[in-house]
Amino acid sequence: MIRMTDISKSFSGNKVLKNVHFALEKGEIHALMGENGAGKSTLMKVMSGIYTRDSGMIEVKGEKVHFTSPKQAEKAGIAVIHQELNILPHLSIADNLFLGREETIGRTGILKTKQMEKKTRQILLDLGLDINPADPASSLSVGKQQILEIAKALSVDAEVIIMDEPTAALTDREIDNLFKTIRDLQKRGVSFIYISHRMEEIFSLCDRITILRDGEFVGERKISETSFDEIVQMMVGRELGERYPERKSTIGEIKLAVKGLSRKNCFEDISFELRRGEVLSIAGLMGAGRTEVAQSLFGYKKLDSGTIEFDGKQVRIDTPKKAKEMGIGYVTEDRKSEGLVVDFTVEENVSMTNFAAISKNGLISKDRERQLYDTMVKRLGIRTSGPDQAAKSLSGGNQQKVVIAKWLGIEPKLLILDEPTRGVDVGAKKEIYSIINELAERGVAILMISSELPEVIGMADRVLVMHEGKITADLAKNEMTQERIMHFATGGGKLAVEDQ
């Protein structure tokens, strides 16, 4: 179907792809894996004409091609769902879906709005999303916007669909629906290239896998003939060991105690305690109100009622600035819109939360700024071409590490992490877990929001489960199972202890 041979690509002297091979057969689901920054997204952008290759050959159905724009690739039947969302927030959901190929009455340019909305509703229903297509796209959560992106690609009748980490922001149920749709299309002869950092998904969905490391082709395997360990080994070039490193922290006195926190239409009556050295996780479905709770604790959203005690003293946190001064850090969920200034360099992004450390009397000390950058890059293993690389040209996983780096610099006493490993590769995930552990061991209280249940179970000392704005369960380590968490996350009532 598609054959790429000897593809190379560099950005300003930095070789990102080195003689990469890739072959996609008709009707297969082909996984593309590799660490953050391995070059997966770049390879796909070369294939779809967003970047021009420096050398190499691309054949589609046996014919040599040289796409110079995504439009041409689309004409050749290749649709791409990019890692970054491309939704126009003020347009309606239907308008977004039909953008650039609107249905009109004849050639008049008059839109057949009703018809497009009807089709939109049907396409989204197939993906398990029941929403009003006339609503603005901005009313959708990140996860639902992702589904809308997927729907866009599905609705152009493509022969090849490239998905770059489509599930990073989806809930389990949404993922199930997506997989069902992918398999249906596969039966109709559509081929897929599927990029993900989630091993479980790759093994349940894909037929073959190609692995890249540092911009080089490492190998290709049939999924049925390989194993978890072999793939990890190929990706990182070494054994990785336990996925969740061990933590030896002692849980200390209460750091944060909240009582009866409520915010209209977001969450209600949230009460919990978080101790020093403890990792408390909040699980739940997308839209359960977890992020809003975090944002309110961080002073970014107003609370309607409730009290917050920090170190035993009642406090009001009404701005993020105040939260930061108290020693609270917040690694945001959406790195592009909330975490980074994408036009800034990596160094400048790290500095943003750390002016106190790198400046004196309002003057930035270049040396201290560089020092902070060096420390953070080393501590988190961030892959950059240097401090001056623009954050927007980092790979997704490395962007995530930069957001974490911003907050490590302030030496937080309480760190809130909202989906800290979204889009992060296996090796880096483990590094992030180790950092969380190290912080906890030093007595930092950790509040970790996560939709990945294995991560919750692997990392948390305790988990709060939220459903529609309310806490439905508070489970200790020995009570956590995926089934139980899902049960409470979907609004199920009390379970008898013995069904554990």
């Binding site: 939260a323 001064e325 400048e348 911003k406």
Partner: protein
């Protein structure tokens, strides 16, 4: 480092400079008199007023804002200081009060925009009308003259320092200070941050509202400084002073390569942008382009420069 921060190649950054040289070469070929020292000093003096305002406008635009009220701010502050001087108030005190008033008028813009969450374009369109109206009320629509002969005040617009006109010296000193602020201070960095991604800035603990109020105040202050220079040069304050100055200032910023969406740009570009506009004004006169036609040429040059810039960015 700032070069890469704003993610423009070096070539892109020096493009305005090349444009300036090109215009100077063309004008000099058509009229070599352009390069005489006295004419160049003249150009610089004419540029200084727009440049001061444009420097402040750079800060505002970097945060993603815009200020249409600067021309009116200039008129009102000029009128108030002149009025005080004419009625015998100590000239130094009157000038300081004028500067303070400029900062306050700017802060009002900033507060409306930051706290009232009004779009900068609309907010300053409204205050432009209000400030201009207040000027007319205060002056009764007539120029204020008879400003006394305070040496400091006279020097401000007409004096020389080591053979360089004082307004030009003021411009250069202000440029140096503001360049330093943007490049080396946490305030400067925060200005870029707020314009680059306001939400991420707030979530990093930056008080974005305060930054916005500061940049509008700074612009107001610089407009007031420009107005003192203008008043001194004309030896009177005109109620219609500063009309359309906001547009020249915005043009200078944009010519200098600063993005109107905020977060990207630099003040060196603004200085060059202001020089381009000043050289055009002066040069078109020198080579005898009829004055009505000058405007057409000026507009066309701005358009061309910006179009070329877009080409490179794409």
């Amino acid at each position: 480092m700032q070069l890469k921060t704003n993610n423009q190649s070096i070539l892109q950054k020096i493009a305005p400079f090349i444009g300036l040289i090109l215009i100077i070469v063309i004008i000099t070929i058509l009229n070599p008199g352009f390069l005489s020292v006295s004419n160049l000093m003249n150009v610089l003096r004419q540029v200084s007023i727009n440049a001061l305002i444009a420097f402040g406008m750079t800060f505002v635009i970097l945060t993603g804002g815009i200020d249409l009220s600067v021309g009116a701010t200039l008129a009102l502050t000029g009128a108030v200081s002149a009025g005080m001087m004419a009625s015998g108030v100590d000239p130094i005190f009157a000038m300081l009060l004028g500067l303070l008033l400029g900062a306050v008028l700017g802060a009002i813009n900033g507060i409306i925009i930051a706290k009232g969450k009004v779009a900068p374009f609309i907010a300053t369109l409204a205050t432009m009308t209000i400030y201009r109206g207040l000027t007319l009320v205060y002056t009764d629509g007539r120029p204020i003259s008879g400003l006394g002969d305070s040496l400091t005040f006279q020097m401000l617009g007409k004096g020389y320092f080591l053979g360089i006109p004082i307004p030009v010296v003021t411009m250069i000193v202000s440029f140096a200070i503001l360049y330093f602020i943007l490049k080396k201070t946490t305030f400067g960095r925060r200005v870029y941050a707020v314009g680059g991604n306001e939400e991420a800035s707030i979530l990093s603990g930056i008080n974005a509202d305060r930054i916005k109020i500061y940049v509008y105040s700074l612009l107001g202050l610089l407009a007031a400084l420009a107005s003192l220079i203008l008043t001194s040069r004309l030896n009177s304050a005109q109620p219609t002073a500063g009309e359309m100055f906001e547009l020249d200032a915005i043009a200078a910023v944009v010519l200098g390569g600063t993005s109107l969406t905020g977060g990207r740009g630099w003040i060196v570009g603004t200085l060059i942008g202001a020089l381009i506009i000043g050289v055009l004004n002066n040069g078109l006169n020198l080579i005898g382009v009829p004055s009505f036609f000058q405007q057409v040429v000026k507009g066309a040059v701005i358009l061309l420069a910006v179009l070329l810039d877009r080409k490179k960015t794409a």
